[in-house]
């Protein structure tokens, strides 16, 4: 009521519960904020992170997703999955300076007229107290000076690693690794032990992406796309099983690709390349997981000052030139065509897609498969610190006991299999009989 009408609130309301609350609030003529734009959905679980991001990018002051009680969903707990997705998205929004209070997630509390009215009026009143969202300005900033986390030349592989590769070759495998060349380290397929003379390591190269492509080519029987065609063609012609000499993050990326049904997981074979303290430090790696990896430094806390985050990311995003290399380099981006090329997340009058919408949506698309390898950030010509976005999502999921590449079920999908069926936590046994001791 108090809210001004230009503050628009997108309300996604489940047709089984809160839509009825909204309808009845209308019938009872309870005053509601005029900014409400009510959208009935067949289940709250159908609201994608994209839709919420889209609403914010297009000027919504707040977004409300209203559904049935957790456990009371008519679609076998589809709203539990939604709950995790939205909570994760809220964490991501905070990371870029959008107050999480702008995203209202409410289960089973808005199915009656008074509750709906109260929920929405309180929400509108709260939105009024928040500082205005910063608009994303067009590209203006220059690329900042930032250390490039790539050891360009690499070093000759130590004998131990060479020995492991030789062993793999002797057992009939083809080793995918980096080879010294006049152009610096390039990926190559090692078939004989003699070739291993040229083996180099210590270079951050997205072998996970390439290995995934090779395995996918083998599955489809043809080399598709545009990258590394010669190597992939020779890899396709060679029938030997593949062993990938790579770092822990590349291995995680390959495991996630297998989990995304891109190729059978049995085809994966790794020769671990440990990362040195310098490499770990250069990547700011939080997950050095191979044996021999240098330990990571204590992960810095994510900045929580919303205004500072907002100002910072406004600057960062304004540098984005929409080249989409981040997506091209990402090892777990496996879609044949990217939906973000369509106008899924753009505000009016901008070249699709808007940097803010694009990066948020991309972070959510790969939320539970992102392995924090940093490939996106490494290739960004404008130096956007994209890994921070993915880390915000990863930390949110870690709080739910999930990390990518570990073979766990994602809490963003099929949560219903994990929850208690009745939605009631069984209490601890306190006493026998009806009476409390």
């Amino acid at each position: 009521m108090a809210s001004s009408t230009d503050k628009k609130i997108c309300v996604f309301a489940c047709r089984f519960c809160s839509l009825l609350g909204a309808e009845r609030a209308g019938r009872d003529r309870l005053p509601l904020p005029a900014g409400i734009r009510l959208m009935p959905v067949s289940c709250a679980g159908s609201v994608s992170a994209d839709a919420v991001i889209q609403a914010f990018v297009n000027g919504a002051s707040g977004v409300a997703v209203l559904g049935c009680h957790l456990g009371g969903c008519r679609h076998n707990d589809a709203n539990r999955d939604e709950h995790v997705r939205l909570e994760t998205l809220a964490d991501l929004l905070e990371a870029v300076g959008i107050d999480r209070r702008r995203l209202l997630i409410s289960w089973g509390t808005a199915h009656e007229a008074e509750q709906y009215a109260r929920t929405m009026n309180d929400f509108a009143a709260e939105l009024d107290t928040l500082p205005a969202m910063l608009p994303v300005a067009p590209a203006s900033e220059k690329r900042p000076e930032r250390p490039v986390p790539v050891l360009d030349e690499g070093v000759a592989a130590p004998a131990e690693l060479r020995g492991k590769a030789a062993e793999a070759i002797r057992s009939g495998k083809a080793v995918l690794a980096l080879s010294a060349s006049s152009r610096g380290p390039v990926p190559a397929l090692f078939r004989t032990e003699a070739e291993l003379e040229a083996l180099v390591c210590g270079v951050k190269y997205p072998l996970g992406k390439l290995a995934g492509r090779i395995l996918r080519d083998r599955r489809t029987g043809a080399v598709q796309g545009t990258d590394d065609l010669a190597l992939r063609a020779s890899a396709l012609a060679c029938e030997a099983p593949l062993a990938v000499l790579c770092r822990a993050c590349d291995a995680r990326a390959l495991k996630e690709q297998a989990a995304l049904n891109q190729f059978p997981a049995e085809e994966l074979c790794f020769i671990p390349e440990a990362c040195s303290p310098e490499q770990v430090a250069a990547c700011g790696c939080e997950r050095p997981e191979w044996p021999g990896d240098a330990p990571s430094e204590a992960a810095p806390a994510l900045p929580t000052d919303l205004a500072a985050n907002a100002a910072r990311w406004q600057k960062e995003f304004s540098r984005c030139v929409q080249c989409h290399w981040c997506r091209t380099a990402c090892p777990v981006c496996v879609c044949p065509t990217c939906a973000l090329d369509e106008c899924a997340v753009l505000p009016a009058g901008m070249m699709p897609p808007s940097p803010l919408g694009y990066h948020l949506a991309r972070a959510m698309h790969v939320a539970d498969v992102c392995v924090q390898c940093g490939a996106c950030q490494d290739v960004c010509p404008q130096g956007l610190p994209l890994l921070e976005l993915h880390r915000a999502v990863a930390r949110s999921l870690k709080a739910r006991g999930y990390a990518s590449g570990e073979g766990k079920a994602s809490p963003m999908r099929a949560q219903r299999r994990l929850g208690d069926a009745l939605g009631i936590a069984a209490p601890e046994w306190k006493s026998t009989g009806g009476k409390k001791a």
């Binding site: 089984f16 519960c17 009825l20 309808e23 009845r24 019938r27 009872d28 049935c68 009680h69 456990g71 009371g72 008519r74 089973g108 509390t109 199915h111 009656e112 007229a113 008074e114 509750q115 109260r118 009745l422 939605g423 009631i424 936590a425 069984a426 209490p427 601890e428 046994w429 306190k430 006493s431 009806g434 009476k435 409390k436």
Partner: protein
């Protein structure tokens, strides 16, 4: 199919099964029969289907909304081509005309025709006595039906201002009940339950329900504390002061040969549900549940009770003696503690008296009517057959439909052979 206000013998398939009562049990029986190809005449005395479930705020053991499944079931009944739903109607007699069983159905049409009402509110604005209401005071609501205004008969002096104001002439203040006789084949009773009211033999006056606003029955309390009222803190019904102590008194008249000789099977869990919801919303509330045997036999119910105990609901095994207004002290309760056998007394701001639930009678069901060779086969399901909760009522409704359909099929195949 909804035929809200008109019914004539020619509209009813004589092979129809008449279902009396459109609560969960009756609705599920109707949907099951329709799915099996049997035509159904579903007679409901209220303004919409759904029965008592529509008055519940939440249902145990899941603590989810009751009305969401109920109203969508109702919608399916309204939409089924084989189910003829008659609202505002009661079965008043059963007879045979020699070859065909006849059901006497009395239609009590409301003054505002729900089929025409636009719910625009012009009548309410015109009424000088504020007798036109937007909401049904008893039932909550039924989103499956278009809303209609209603007239509170107690306030209306039939001045006719509303009828003049109505833009679509939907109001007839002189409407009278009509009784029609329709052919049916079988009858399923699903009349449900009613809370014992003061003056009825099932009602135990010593527990005071009906004597003071702060002594309420379970369903009264459901309407009072429910989320539909949107109140944060519980207040007394008498003067609206905040409630600090509330008691639930079980078996107050039930399992008592003088009143209700049986256990209504659902009150313990229902009281526990209300208690837990109160505790969840208002953790500082002092809640005590006085019970005789705490019966939580169904799926997930024991865990539900344990959870309530852990949340801090005090359980006292006892036999209730007396509930009475005690002036400034609030409401007094005397009981016999089962562990010690000693008589004790306590005071509360509000007392919820669970005096059991009475099975509704089966109208027209007399031994004589069911004895004749041409008399329809009568079955019963839901609470009127045996005390059950929502899950039990659903199962019974469907199972009874199965029994009716199986009997129908075997009768038809015997007839076909002959």
């Amino acid at each position: 199919m909804l035929s809200a206000l008109n019914l004539s013998a020619s509209q009813v398939d004589p092979r129809s099964v008449l279902i009396v009562g459109g609560g969960v049990s009756g609705m599920q029986a109707a949907l099951s029969l329709a799915a099996l190809g049997v035509p159904v005449l579903l007679v409901e005395k209220n303004a919409h289907l759904g029965g008592q479930v529509m008055r519940l705020d939440k249902v145990y053991p899941t603590d989810h909304c009751a009305f969401c499944p109920a109203w969508s079931t109702a919608k399916a009944c309204y939409e089924s081509p084989l189910i003829k739903v008659v609202l505002h109607a009661e079965l008043t007699g059963l007879s045979t005309d020699g070859e065909q069983a006849l059901a006497e159905v009395t239609l009590r049409r409301p003054a505002i025709d729900p089929a025409s009402c636009l719910f625009c509110g012009s009548c309410a604005e015109a009424c000088p006595r504020k007798a036109v209401l937007r909401r049904d005071p008893i039932m909550t609501w039924d989103p499956a039906l278009p809303p209609a205004m209603r007239i509170d008969e107690a306030l209306c002096d039939k001045c006719g201002a509303c009828a003049k104001a109505c833009p679509v002439q939907a109001i007839d203040l002189g409407v009278k009940p009509v009784t029609v006789s329709v052919p049916v084949a079988d009858v399923i009773y699903a009349t449900g339950f009613a809370e014992p009211r003061p003056g009825e033999p099932e009602h135990a006056p010593e527990f005071g329900s009906g004597s003071h606003p702060d002594i309420c029955t379970a369903m009264e309390f459901e309407a009072w504390h429910g989320e539909s009222r949107g109140q944060d803190r519980l207040t007394t019904r008498s003067d609206g002061r905040p409630v600090r102590r509330v008691a639930f008194v079980q078996c107050a008249g039930a399992r008592d040969v003088r009143h209700l000789p049986y256990c209504a099977a659902v009150c313990c869990m229902h009281a526990m549900k209300q208690a837990r919801w109160l505790k969840r919303r208002q953790p500082d509330l002092d809640i005590t549940l006085f019970y005789n045997d705490l019966r939580a036999p169904g799926a997930g119910q024991e865990a539900y009770v344990r959870a309530g105990e852990v949340e801090g609901i005090r359980l006292v095994r006892s036999r209730p003696g007396l509930v009475k207004e005690a002036g400034k002290l609030g409401i007094g309760l005397r009981y016999e503690d089962a562990a010690t056998g000693s008589a004790l007394g306590e005071h509360f701001d509000m007392v919820v008296v669970n005096g059991g639930l009475a099975q509704c009678p089966l109208p027209g069901h007399t031994p004589a009517a069911s004895a004749g060779p041409l008399a329809p086969v009568t079955l019963a399901c839901g609470f009127c057959a045996e005390p059950v909760d929502v899950a039990g009522a659903v199962i019974q409704g469907v199972a009874t439909a199965a029994a009716a359909a199986m009997r129908r099929r075997s009768a038809e195949s015997v007839g076909g052979d002959a």
